[in-house]
Amino acid sequence: MIAPVSITLMVNDEHVNAHVSPRTHLADFLRDHLGLTGTHLGCEHGVCGACTVRLDGDIVRGCLVLAVQADGAVVETIEGLSDSGEIADLQEAFRNRNALQCGYCTPGMLIAVQELLRQQSNPSRETIREHLSGNYCRCTGYHAIVDAVEATVRARNGANA
């Protein structure tokens, strides 16, 4: 086994120094080394989207990025996005619409939604469904999630008008 490598990165506005095995993926690093267990693992082969996090501003699959690749990078997880308040309105819309059941896909889903809403101010229902097709949810059937995203879009556009 290859010896651990030293990495330095920002995670949710905190400086982190760590020694990680080069084969450790980012999601395992966040969960096992930093205790940030809000980043979930559903498939560990890049399909389900449960491990979605932000890396230098872009969303990535935490299971397809190695921790060593995040050396020098800025990582944001669901814990950080919740504490900063960036997605507070989106979370409230999910709560009001019961857009989650078991909640396992939800952190990744919320981060993926926020990415869409940063790119497009008024996405259609079809666009929302298309954008979220990389995030699997087995509980809701997606309808409530799409509703919650639409409600957030309306509220944000109303607030900006």
Binding site: G42, H45, F94, N98, Y136, G141, H143, A144
Partner: protein, 797 residues
């Protein structure tokens, strides 16, 4: 059951001031989950925790000649390598049979295969190490010497004399057979104007919970106690089973169920690798954690369906259905699962076929056979999608044979809404269903007639759209008739304890569990309403055998109907105890008082008399000021189990509107409608979302989901990329409507809603596809309805 004594006449027991019953209040536990601050078993760590990885058989059927773990054991970080024979010293085997399923047989199953692996993926050795990664490295170094045996993979030939018998001691590969013959079937077919038949084929699929099965077992040798953190739907059932097979007293076992990342019936069973994990903890005297990876999930989470069902229907020219007949065959893998068995689904199919209709002539046979594939067992809507697809497929065939509209033939045959109580030819008892009201509502919601016009117009332009209808009945609120009568130690009753705390808030402990359905929310709603406190003052504790009443848990759509009624009764009992204490303090007649919004008030005028916080303060801290001989009891427990009806049947109807591309074979779902009747609706939003989620778990297998095995018993698509689950872009909007026929067996009147969506979705889609393709004179009775299958039937592939 009549209304409670304290209910004014003309009002239902639910008409409390500020009632939460029927309100779409948000679930209290969502914020935690949305912030990534839930606690799933896969998130947990304990000091000295070992991680177990299982070495699994690459063959569907093989003898284990030897296991060499020398190299693996020598690797740094490896704690132990344990074989099946070694673990059999710690954990006794089990046999998945129930006595009320007469003739059901199975073979002893061990936590780890001892001398023979019976499906690809069965564990043959355990590697425990200080990290998951090290355990996986070491597992690759365990050398297993196999002698490949002939696998039994095709259920159609499993009973042939030349097919090997998987468990020679059982004599053959037939696990279970049930026959039923009601009415005069032969005469009914002979007298029918038309008789049509078809073979319906249902692929194997599985639940794909997004959090895979996870268990963390912690044997504390000092305490002599095993604590198992497990994503399970039935903590007390698991407590009993861990104790029984690890030779412990039940009091020595605690099962804790925190957040669960999806369940759907997948996590209500006893899995060999989870039993092995608990046994390893006892053997190694330290915590051991097992989290299945995705490939293990596909290869070892229970699969479901895998039925081939021949069906036949007789019909008169006026649309009257004269008889149904089915012959169902299902392959369940090498063992009947423990303790609920793998014969329940076939048994349900026999029970449910023809269920919505008046026809009293019904013959059925179901055969359940062993095979060298992964085990199958109860998954959401057990048996319902098969029974519904066969029934509704046959009804559409009958309609086609006599040239009648599919909605009209249903109108003419569904049991009348005023005919209850009544029964089915298979012996089911129906208290109150609403098939006609549901169908009428559905047809109005979808604007059926206009949709037919649109369909005809589009067809002129070469666009092939279809409408599919599916009426269904749904088994909910199961009594002891489901498992208890067959000898399974699975509680059919649930219990709820409520306690008024010293600040006037309420702590509630319930034996039902939460996997996302909203059990915690509806319990809080019911308790808050029954007592008369704001819902945010109620804290609900569930999923812990040390800290909840004994009960069944959450499965078979029982939590709201059974656990909800226990919560209602417990809340009422506590309110009465509160009023007794308040009356003593106020020197009033308790009959003149009520509790509203956390305050004891005069009944009628609602004049505020004393807050629950003040009352609790006096009761707990200054009982010396109360009259001698008075003892306040600010805690109450009630249990409930249905006794009048073995099951509370619900009903509903679904419709699918879709388009088939005849060039590519692709099906595009355009819209889906459901009307269902689950009795009293405690939280309309949660019911609707159960329906929607359930529908999508029926649409998946209708179009995409399929565990594909080759002829040697190898699962060929055991990963998320190749096993297709519904994604957001492919799913339609789903409109949900309700009819409300409360069960009179409880004061709450709630029935279940968890299976309804899954029960009828595939039937509606299959009927819609055949409707779309009706100009081509093809009939497809197989799911998943893949583009390949559709093009083959269209002879374009």
């Amino acid at each position: 059951m009549s209304g409670s004594a304290d209910t004014p006449s003309g009002l239902s027991a639910l008409d409390r001031p500020n009632s939460y019953i029927g309100r779409a209040v948000p679930r209290p536990n969502l914020t935690r989950l949305m912030q990534g601050r839930g606690q799933y078993v896969s998130d947990m760590t304990l000091p000295r925790m070992g991680h177990v990885v299982y070495v699994r058989s690459p063959y569907a059927h093989a003898r284990i000649l030897g296991i060499d773990s020398t190299d693996a054991k020598a690797m740094p970080g490896v704690i132990a390598v344990v074989t099946g024979a070694e673990l059999a010293q710690v954990c006794t085997p089990w046999v998945g049979v129930l006595s009320h399923l007469k003739g059901l047989k199975s073979a002893p199953q061990y936590p780890i295969a001892v001398d023979r692996a019976c499906w690809q993926g069965e564990a043959v050795a355990a590697v425990i190490a200080t990290s998951r990664a090290i355990a996986e490295d070491a597992a690759e170094q365990v050398i297993v010497d196999y002698e490949e045996l002939e696998p039994v993979t095709d259920m159609r030939t499993a009973l042939d004399p030349e097919t090997p018998v998987i468990h020679p001691d059982l004599g053959d590969n037939l696990a279970f057979e049930r026959k039923l013959d009601a009415g005069e079937v032969d005469r009914a077919f002979a007298e029918a104007d038309a008789v049509v038949d078809a073979e319906f084929v249902f692929g194997r699929h599985t639940g794909v919970t997004l959090e895979s099965r996870s268990v963390l077992a912690d044997w504390n040798a000092g305490e002599g106690r095993l604590t198992v953190y497990q994503g399970t739907q039935a903590p007390h059932m698991m407590q009993n089973i861990f104790a029984k097979h690890l030779s412990l007293e039940e009091a020595q076992v605690r099962v804790v169920c925190k957040d669960v990342g999806g369940s759907f019936g997948i996590k209500v069973h006893v899995y060999a690798d989870e039993m092995a994990t608990a046994a390893l903890s006892k053997l190694l005297r330290r915590p051991v954690k097992f989290v299945a990876d995705r490939i293990e999930s596909f290869a070892t989470d229970i699969h479901a369906r895998d039925h081939r069902c021949y069906g036949k229907i007789g019909v008169m020219k006026d649309g009257t259905i004269t008889a149904f007949e089915i012959d169902d065959l299902t392959g369940i893998g090498p063992y009947s699962m423990y303790p609920r068995t793998s014969a329940i689904e076939a048994n349900q199919v026999v029970n449910l076929v023809g269920g919505p209709y008046t026809a009293q002539n019904y013959r059925a046979r179901a055969r359940v056979v062993f095979q060298n594939k992964n085990v199958t067992c109860q998954y959401r809507a057990v048996g319902h999608p098969i029974a519904c697809s066969v029934t509704e497929g046959l009804v559409d065939l009958a309609a086609r044979a006599i040239g009648m509209d599919p909605a009209e033939i249903r109108r003419r045959n569904l049991i009348q809404d005023d005919a209850y109580p009544c029964g089915s030819p298979s012996g089911l008892k129906f208290e109150a269903l609403s098939h006609h009201a549901a169908l009428n509502k559905l047809l109005a919601m979808m604007n059926y007639d206009a949709l037919r016009v649109e369909q005809a117009e589009l067809r002129q332009r070469g666009i092939y759209r279809g409408i599919g209808l599916a009426s269904f009945i749904e088994v909910t609120n199961p009594s002891a008739a489901f498992y208890g009568v067959g000898g399974a130690r699975i509680s059919s009753q649930d219990g709820v304890t409520v306690r008024l705390d010293a600040t006037g808030s309420v702590t509630c402990q319930t034996s039902i569990t939460e996997q996302g359905q909203g059990s915690e929310a509806i319990t809080a709603q019911v308790v808050a309403t029954a007592i008369g406190v704001p819902m945010e003052r109620v804290r609900v504790i569930l999923g812990d055998t040390d800290n909840t009443p004994y009960g069944g848990g959450t499965w078979a759509s029982r939590a709201a109907g059974i656990g909800g009624e226990a919560a209602w009764q417990a809340g009422k009992a506590l309110r009465n105890n509160i009023l007794a204490a308040a009356a003593t303090i106020l020197q009033a007649d308790p009959a003149t008082l009520d509790v509203v919004d956390g305050v004891v008030v005069d009944k009628g005028t609602t004049r505020q008399r004393i807050g629950l916080d003040e009352m609790a303060r006096i009761t707990y801290f200054r009982p010396d000021t109360l009259p001698p001989g008075f003892q306040a009891e600010l805690m109450a427990t009630r249990h409930f189990v249905p006794r009048q009806y073995p099951f509370a049947f619900t009903n509903g109807v679904q419709a699918s509107w879709l388009e088939v591309d005849i060039e590519t074979g692709f099906v595009t779902l355009l819209k889906h409608w459901v009307v269902e009747d689950c009795g009293t609706i405690i939280n309309p939003q949660l019911v609707d979302e159960q329906i929607r989620g359930g529908v999508v778990q029926g649409l998946g297998p209708a179009l995409y989901e399929h565990c594909r095995y080759d002829e040697s018993g190898q699962l060929t698509n055991g990963n998320m990329a190749d096993y297709l689950v519904p994604m957001a872009a492919e799913m339609p909007d789903i409109e949900v409507g309700h009819v409300v026929s409360p069960t009179l067996e409880t004061e709450l009147g709630a029935k279940g809603a968890g299976e309804a969506g899954t029960a009828g979705a595939a039937a509606a889609v299959a009927n819609a596809v055949n409707d779309a393709l009706s100009p081509f004179d093809v009939l497809i009775t197989e799911i998943p309805l893949t583009p390949e299958l559709i093009l083959k039937e269209l002879k374009r592939f």
